[in-house]
């Protein structure tokens, strides 16, 4: 059955491949790889032929490569040192010789003027850690001039680590990413090739990939690109060939127990995309959800930003605890789901949309994730919440009863609605004051500071920008950013320039605060009072018009004040809306500069005052204190007082079982 499905898929993708020719990328690093998986030894032996083009303005006589898997070679690597610092018990998974590595067995180059064997040397550009072998440099016998190419042949042996993050194996499950010597980026006339860090890994150039993978025949393979050939070998193995133009990385997976499903994404305004799903045998009931989430992402991000340009996409439902779930690679991403989930959790849609959204913010807009993680994860988090809100609406609070390792009895509390942005605000609130967005990802003090500045703060920043600038301007900005920077490497300033191009005012002040200041935004209405207006007593007027008065006056029956406070460190202008008891309203704008400001009003008594009444400033870490009634009422507290009382009474009666 699986064979039939594979052949059908082959036909579908071959036709797709033909139509996808001519993607507008500059082909800098193209790979031809021949690799063989040994599932017993957990190794992949390969030969890679790289064609690299110098698109800089200066010649280079060096080539730099990532050897990502060496991050799992020993406990002293930069990746594992950082991980052990952030996560308890991290190294335990490698205890039973679960270490991984990538050995370069030989390397040779041929350019216009030379042909030579190369001597690789390890480099540690980020931290000087002598035990880290994740970056390798070779000197060429002659420089490669701008516009010229060099071909490098590399024999390598990669060993996959046990349950390592992103790439590795668990049992007979293999997810093979960051597995071959991958060339760095020659940019601004220098090599940008960072070591593999716990929290960042992506920055590479586009090119064409042509990869042949040989695995034992019982394995089902999924990979970036489209399968263009499948040949059964005499030794009970099979060689599958995957090809794709204009991608900047290549990952694949092999597992005997994958189930396969194929569907086509179709939309009148967008190109069709063949979707191939590799799912776990006990996740059949989620097939519609995986496809649905992928379709929603391709649809909404395609309409809002740019159409997904490839003819196909592979969705991998990664094995539990394999470490591979929730990752993105060009034309392929991994997701996962628990065997039982609560409806309110909106899983697997949430994770699937996020990883699929990376096809845009990573796959297409290939920013430097090492140095500007927020352009990658921040935009993805923002786009995910926007897509989820549009396609699925709010989720709900959910919990797992008898939870052991995520397994238990899931339960949705439908009376506790949860906007997609709620969890982003929640996390940002707790970590917002830690560090700034403008930083390399490995320089953060801890993983929470990294998470806040790579995911949450930028996502809320983009929501706040969208709400402040209005949908029309925002649509233009996002469309311009994604279309101009597709298949390219934007920097933060490139995005800021586009915002300034379309926004009614220069927004440098905003980005300066956001990118370089730590802290949160938090405004509060802290006090409201309305008092009977002071009587008009004494002399009023001058000269002949001077009159001695003692009356209520004409204009005001009440004098009111509203106190607003800036409780956070970051200052942004906000709106204040005051509603009076006669139904009238008054709108004000506050620069938010002073720590406290008092607004005075005359007229009817105030009913309530709300700061940021339309919830534009999603960066506000505590929206609870944004609005206040002048008079308290006891309904809500009675409701919650009695509910809590009931819970305690029931608990007492439960405990009586022990009596």
């Amino acid at each position: 059955m699986n064979k039939i499905v594979s052949i059908l898929f082959l036909v579908v993708v071959l036709s797709g491949l033909a139509s996808a020719q001519g993607l507008p990328c500059e082909k800098v690093a193209s790979y031809k790889i021949d690799a063989t998986l040994d599932p017993l030894q957990k190794t992949v032996a390969g030969v890679a032929v790289l064609t690299w083009k110098n698109i800089g303005t200066a010649p280079t006589s060096e080539l730099w490569f990532h050897l990502y898997l060496n991050a799992f070679k020993n406990s002293k690597s930069t990746f594992l040192t950082e991980s052990a610092r952030h996560y308890a018990d991290f190294l335990a998974r490698f205890a039973d010789d679960g270490w991984g590595f990538c050995d370069v067995l030989s390397m040779s180059a041929s350019g216009e003027l030379f042909e030579a064997d190369l001597e690789p040397r390890f480099m540690r550009p980020d931290d000087g850690n002598a035990d880290d072998e994740t970056v390798l440099k070779v000197d060429l016998p002659a420089a490669i001039a701008p516009g010229k190419t060099v071909t490098v042949k590399i024999d390598f042996l990669s060993r996959l680590p046990h349950r390592a993050p992103r790439s590795g194996y668990r049992g007979d499950y293999f997810f093979v990413a960051q597995w071959f010597p991958k060339i760095g980026v020659w940019t601004d006339n220098e090599w940008n090739c960072h070591q593999y860090h716990a929290h960042s890994e992506f920055f590479s150039d586009y090119g064409d990939y042509d990869v042949r993978l040989t695995v034992p025949s019982q394995f089902i393979v999924g990979a970036c690109g489209v399968m263009t050939d499948s040949t059964a070998n005499s030794d009970n193995s099979v060689t599958v060939r995957y090809q794709q133009e204009c991608i900047h990385d290549f990952a694949w997976t092999a597992y005997p127990h994958y189930k396969i499903a194929i569907r086509t994404f179709e939309h009148p305004e967008l190109p069709a995309v063949t979707m191939k799903l590799l799912y776990q045998p006990d996740h059949k009931r989620y097939v519609d959800d995986f496809f649905g989430a992928t379709e929603n992402t391709l649809k909404y991000l395609g309409l809002w930003y740019v159409p997904y340009p490839y003819s196909h996409i592979t969705i991998v439902d990664a094995a539990c605890k394999s470490g591979a779930a929730g990752m993105e690679y060009p034309t392929l991403f991994t997701t996962s789901v628990d065997w039982l989930t609560a409806r309110g959790s909106q899983e697997p849609a949430g994770l699937t949309v996020h990883e699929c959204a990376h096809q845009f913010f990573y796959g297409l807009i290939a920013s430097n994730e090492f140095e500007n993680a927020w352009l990658d994860e921040g935009f993805t988090t923002y786009a995910t919440s926007r897509c989820m809100n549009t396609a699925y609406g709010p989720g709900a609070y959910h919990k797992i009863y008898l939870n052991r390792d995520g397994l238990g009895i899931p339960w949705t509390v439908s009376k506790s609605e949860k906007d997609q942005r709620d969890w982003i605000v929640e996390n940002h609130r707790a970590r917002g004051s830690r560090d700034v967005m403008n930083k390399c990802s490995w320089d953060y003090v801890d993983r929470l500071a990294y998470r806040n500045n790579a995911y949450e703060k930028p996502a809320l920043m983009l929501w706040t920008l969208e709400n402040s600038l209005g949908e029309a301007v925002w649509t233009e900005i996002m469309h311009a950013y994604t279309s101009r920077w597709s298949f390219k490497h934007p920097r933060p300033q490139d995005f800021i320039d586009i915002v300034n191009e379309f926004a009614p005012e220069n927004m440098d002040w905003f980005f300066d605060k956001m990118l370089n200041e730590a802290g949160v935004v938090d405004y509060a209405v802290t006090h409201i009072e309305s008092n009977a207006a002071v009587k008009r007593k004494g002399y009023f007027g001058v000269g002949d018009g001077r009159e001695l008065k003692d009356d209520d006056g004409e204009d005001a029956t009440f004098e009111s004040q509203v106190h607003v406070e800036r409780l956070g460190d970051i200052q942004l202008p906000v709106e204040l809306l005051v509603t009076f008891e006669n139904g009238e309203t008054a709108a004000n704008v506050w620069s938010g500069e002073e720590p406290v400001k008092i607004f005075y009003f005359r007229g009817a008594q105030i009913e309530k005052a709300e700061i940021d009444p339309y919830h534009k400033v999603w960066l506000d870490a505590n929206p609870l204190n944004n609005g206040k009634y002048r008079r308290a009422d006891g309904f809500a507290s009675f409701r919650w007082g009695t509910t809590w009382l009931f819970w305690l009474q029931d608990l007492f009666e439960l405990i009586a079982v022990f009596s």
Binding site: R170, G171, H257, Q280, P281, D282, A319, D338, W339, A396, Y397, K399, Y401, L402, R404, L407, W411, V413, K415, S416, E417, D419, V425, R429, N622, L624, N625, N626, G627, K628, Y629, R630, R631, D633, G634, F635, A636, S637, F638, R639, W640, G641, T642, T643, W644, L645, F646, W647, L648, Q649, D650, L651, F652, E653, L654, I655, A656, V657, F658, S659
Partner: protein, 325 residues
């Protein structure tokens, strides 16, 4: 005596002494109010004047709750979204029976439930003694006097129960799950792992059932037989259950179904009511309180039916002994 007869007899005993339900309910309410009242005031000062307070009538919006966590103090930390559903409070509590994490809601709540444990033990003596008494009329005086008379036995048995449960939660439970984790091992199938865990919880539930079964009959025996040693009564209870295994277990399974039916019915009713106005708010409060009273009645039905079953068997044995003589 058949299971069905013991059950019916138990129901009629509880019905005859239904005033007892009222007394225990009032004590339960007052004891809970001691802490609920200050929490009510605290919560009032926090949400009484906030915009959006009306949303709190129909549920607990996640964003509200999450923001409330910022500076929630003491008992406020135990307010959580799961309380807003009809079933939430009940399931949250039931889960504790299998996990034993009674300190989950802080040491203050923990000390309250320990206090209530002894109050419940006090009333158990009165209740079981009245059920065992041939006189069918309820008298508050006799109820309290019996409660006082048997308190030392009931307290000793309660402490024994707690000790057994502590052993279950701290030693047996971790041992079972570490064994089960080893069975799951490196399996990539989540459904397999889930089923193995489920079997683990079924096992724990069985132990919970057996401990309460034995200790319930120990209470019945120490009072019915006027024993001096509560420890000896545990042995006698175990022996009795062993001898009449089908009936004792069957009766308690039937009673457990009654309790489950109550939880399902009550939970459903409370899920339906959304207290969006004052009338519904009061209505939902009344339903909650009726549920607590019904729960007390069900617990008393356990004791009454068990007493009826035990006494019928004891009487039958005495007859046999007499005849043999």
């Amino acid at each position: 005596m058949k299971i069905r007869d013991a059950f019916r007899h138990g129901l009629s005993l509880v019905n005859h002494h239904r005033k007892m339900i009222g007394i225990i309910y009032l004590v339960n309410l007052c004891f809970a109010l001691i802490v609920a009242a200050p929490l009510f005031t605290l919560f009032h000062s926090r949400v009484g004047s906030l915009v959006g307070r009306d949303e709190l009538l129909t549920g607990l919006p996640y964003s509200w709750w999450s923001a409330l966590q910022i500076d929630a103090r003491g008992l406020e930390n135990t307010i959580r979204p799961s309380l807003s559903g009809g079933f939430g409070p009940l399931i949250d509590n039931l889960e504790l029976l299998l996990t034993g994490q009674f300190q989950l809601y802080g040491w203050f709540v923990f000390s309250l439930i320990v206090g209530y444990l002894f109050i419940a033990a006090f009333f158990n003596g009165g209740a079981i003694a009245l059920f065992a008494d041939e006189r069918r009329s309820f008298s508050a005086g006799r109820f309290f006097s019996y409660a006082g008379t048997y308190f030392h036995h009931m307290a000793a048995l309660a402490v024994t129960t707690v000790a057994l449960f502590a052993l279950l939660y701290k030693v047996i439970n971790p041992a079972i799950f570490s064994l089960l984790d080893r069975i799951v091992g490196d399996s990539l199938s989540q459904s397999f792992a889930w089923i193995v865990h489920f079997i683990g919880y079924l096992f724990i539930l069985t132990i919970v059932f057996l401990i309460t079964l034995i200790l319930d009959y120990a209470k019945v025996i120490v009072i019915s037989e006027k024993k001096n040693s509560s420890w000896a009564s545990i042995g006698l209870a175990a022996a009795f259950i062993f001898r009449s295994f089908g009936k004792t277990v069957g009766l308690n399974v039937l009673l457990a179904f009654l309790a489950i039916a109550l939880v399902l019915g009550g939970g459903l009713l409370m899920s339906i009511i959304t207290p969006s106005n004052l009338l519904l708010l009061v209505g939902s409060f009344i339903v909650q309180q009726l549920f607590i009273a019904a729960k007390i009645a069900v617990r008393l039905t356990f004791y009454a039916s068990e007493t009826a079953l035990y006494q019928a068997h004891a009487a039958a044995r005495t007859m046999v002994k007499k005849r043999k003589r």
